[in-house]
């Protein structure tokens, strides 16, 4: 290394430092991503091992014949559109409650965040237990006040809502603390000035706090939308896509086709669609954020 210049030496060190991660990343993320496009043009049975190239046949089937796929897309959209506003709205509300200077407020912060560190499997198991028909805890409590609850996870009209609510309670703590830290870092002068000028609490919130929070809200919305596309554990454990496919979302459908039906070629075509959706959403949020990136 003696006759290398300093900057050449730096370059070599740089590559050495990032090499382990980059090589692993290429092997386990980039190559599989490319492979998925190849697989998507094949009929590829996991059990028999038979592989037949079929061109775009999988995509044709998905878009023209697979009636379930339409339902899957609709379910995925329902999940996202139900989950995101509920999650963000509740997170905002909790964050503003938690930003008050009250004795013991930390305890509530710890409580609201505790489902976030809990495994999704454990959380889904307990909620499935509580959401059972007649014997479920939720319905027993409802019965005490004279309401007869449905069999939440076995009724097509209730199952998705039940999963969404369970997910919101599980994950809202993360968005809450992100918004909370943004709230506590807001400059307080504007709000105080508005108070002095006689603005109501709600006016201050609408006209001052909310606009100041906008960048954080956008960020939180983006991670929640992308997160809602990845919901798998809760579906698998609470409803397994049912009843009558009412909670069959895209990621679960991919798993179902690949590892229950062994149609990995078809599942790969579905995975390509999932990839495109995630890509479009990510590019969309970049455009929205404009040049917010500072490097």
């Amino acid at each position: 290394m003696l006759h290398l210049t300093n900057s050449q030496r730096e370059t070599i060190w740089g590559y050495l430092f990032i090499a382990p991660q980059t090589i692993g990343f290429i092997l386990l993320i980039v190559l599989p991503l490319i492979t998925i496009f190849v697989f998507s043009t094949e009929e590829r049975n996991l059990l028999t091992g038979v592989v037949v190239p079929v061109g775009f046949e999988n995509f044709r089937t998905i878009f023209q014949e697979d009636i379930l796929f339409r339902k899957v897309l609709l379910n995925t959209l329902t999940l996202t559109l139900g989950l995101v506003p509920l999650n963000i709205g509740l997170a905002l509300f909790l964050a503003s409650l938690l930003s008050q200077k009250l004795r013991g407020i930390t305890i509530f912060r710890v409580l609201f965040f505790s489902p976030v560190v809990t495994s999704a499997v454990a959380w889904a198991i307990v909620w499935r237990f509580m959401l059972q028909g007649e014997q479920g805890t939720v319905n027993q409590v409802l019965q005490l006040i004279g309401v007869e609850g449905p069999n939440w996870l076995r009724r097509p009209e209730w199952a998705m809502l039940s999963v969404i609510v369970t997910l919101v309670i599980k994950n809202v703590g993360l968005n809450t603390i992100i918004l909370l830290s943004a709230l506590t870092n807001l400059p307080s002068e504007y709000r105080e000035a508005a108070h002095v000028d006689g603005a109501t609490r709600w006016q201050v919130f609408r006209k001052i706090t909310l606009p100041l929070l906008a960048p954080t809200l956008l960020f939180v919305t983006v991670i929640t939308v992308i997160g809602s596309l990845k919901v798998f554990d809760h579906i698998m454990l609470m409803t397994a896509g049912g009843p009558s496919n009412s909670t069959m979302v895209l990621v679960y459908y991919i798993y179902y086709q690949a590892f229950q039906f062994f149609e990995t070629g078809y599942a790969s075509a579905l995975a390509v669609i999932l990839f495109v959706i995630a890509l479009v959403l990510t590019l969309g949020q970049w455009l929205l954020r404009g040049r917010a990136y500072d490097d």
Binding site: I18, G24, F25, T35, V121, I169, F259, A271
Partner: protein, 296 residues
């Protein structure tokens, strides 16, 4: 009374009223917080209390908040039903390996991206970041064939290396890069002038300074692995190789209906230690979750 005195009395009563108002507001806030906390806390309470109940008591109406007699039988049966101790150990070992691996790989890369100048740096970094939007369901099918061709399905190898090199590892690299970017270079530069090599600089100076962020990252990596579900589900068949999330859902009768007293007891055993650690280190744990997200 003079008008002066009346005015003073009015001011006094107004002040008292605002104080009363503040107190009511405060009480209302507490009430609201307690009410809202119920769905967050009750599931844990219910899981633990049901786990101590006799199977017959679990579904009695009206529900009993505490078991009528604390029974440890469910917790014993959890271990008799399947190799739960082995599965617990599997999860511990895998999560520890993921943690160590992530710390090592991510701190190398994060330091490299923050401190060393080399061509193509931005391209490589953006390529890594793109993994954050990629659901692991997209790549799991090729990875399954890849691992199978290496005879690594039904081993713990994929469960260790996928988190290290996937999105979780990228978050780690990102966190460490951010940490070093916000740290003044002077200390390191002084050592560089003293003739330390890049490696020496990294190992002896940078890493010790980065201890707080490494602590946060180890919590995140450990929990990520501990809670991972899809990957074990796809890669592992053998009950002896199961991790906890797979084991928890395995307590079923012959018809596939859950044996609730066992599922809840096993879930309690898996969740409560995490919650205890969480309550002890809540500040740092919540902060590290927040910092992994906030600037992503």
């Amino acid at each position: 009374m003079t008008s002066m005195a009346m005015e003073l009395a009015a001011v006094d009563s107004r002040r008292r009223r605002t104080r009363l108002e503040a107190r009511i507001k405060k009480a209302a806030s507490y009430m609201l917080l307690i009410l809202l906390a119920v769905p967050f806390v009750f599931p844990f309470w219910w899981m633990v209390s049901s786990a101590f109940k006799q199977p017959s008591e679990i579904f009695t109406f009206p529900p009993t908040l505490l078991p009528s007699s604390f029974s440890l039988q469910n917790f014993i049966d959890v271990f008799n039903y399947q190799p739960f101790a082995q599965q617990y150990l599997n999860s511990l070992v895998i999560a520890s390996l993921v943690t160590v691996g992530t710390l090592l790989i991510s701190s190398l890369a994060g330091y490299g991206f923050a401190r060393i100048k080399f061509p193509g740096k931005t391209v490589f970094f953006l390529m890594l970041l793109s993994a954050l939007m990629l659901p692991s369901e997209v790549t799991i099918i090729p990875n399954f064939f890849f691992m199978k061709s290496l005879n690594l399905t039904n081993t713990h190898v994929p469960l260790v290396i996928l988190p290290i090199f996937g999105a979780q590892g990228v978050i780690g690299t990102f966190m460490i890069r951010q940490f070093f970017l916000s740290l003044p270079r002077e200390i390191e530069e002084a050592a560089l002038l003293d003739g330390a090599s890049r490696w020496g600089l990294f190992w002896h100076i940078a890493l010790p300074i980065a201890r707080p962020v490494l602590g946060g990252l180890s919590i995140l990596s450990f929990l990520y692995s501990w809670n991972l579900f899809l990957e074990p589900l796809v890669f592992i068949d053998d009950v002896n190789m199961y991790t906890l999330p797979l084991a928890l859902r395995n307590y079923n009768d012959v018809y596939g209906a859950p044996l609730w007293h066992l599922q809840l007891a096993a879930t309690t055993l898996a969740v409560v230690p995490v919650l205890i650690v969480y309550v002890i280190g809540q500040r740092q744990i919540i902060d590290s979750f927040a910092s992994s997200g906030v600037k992503g």
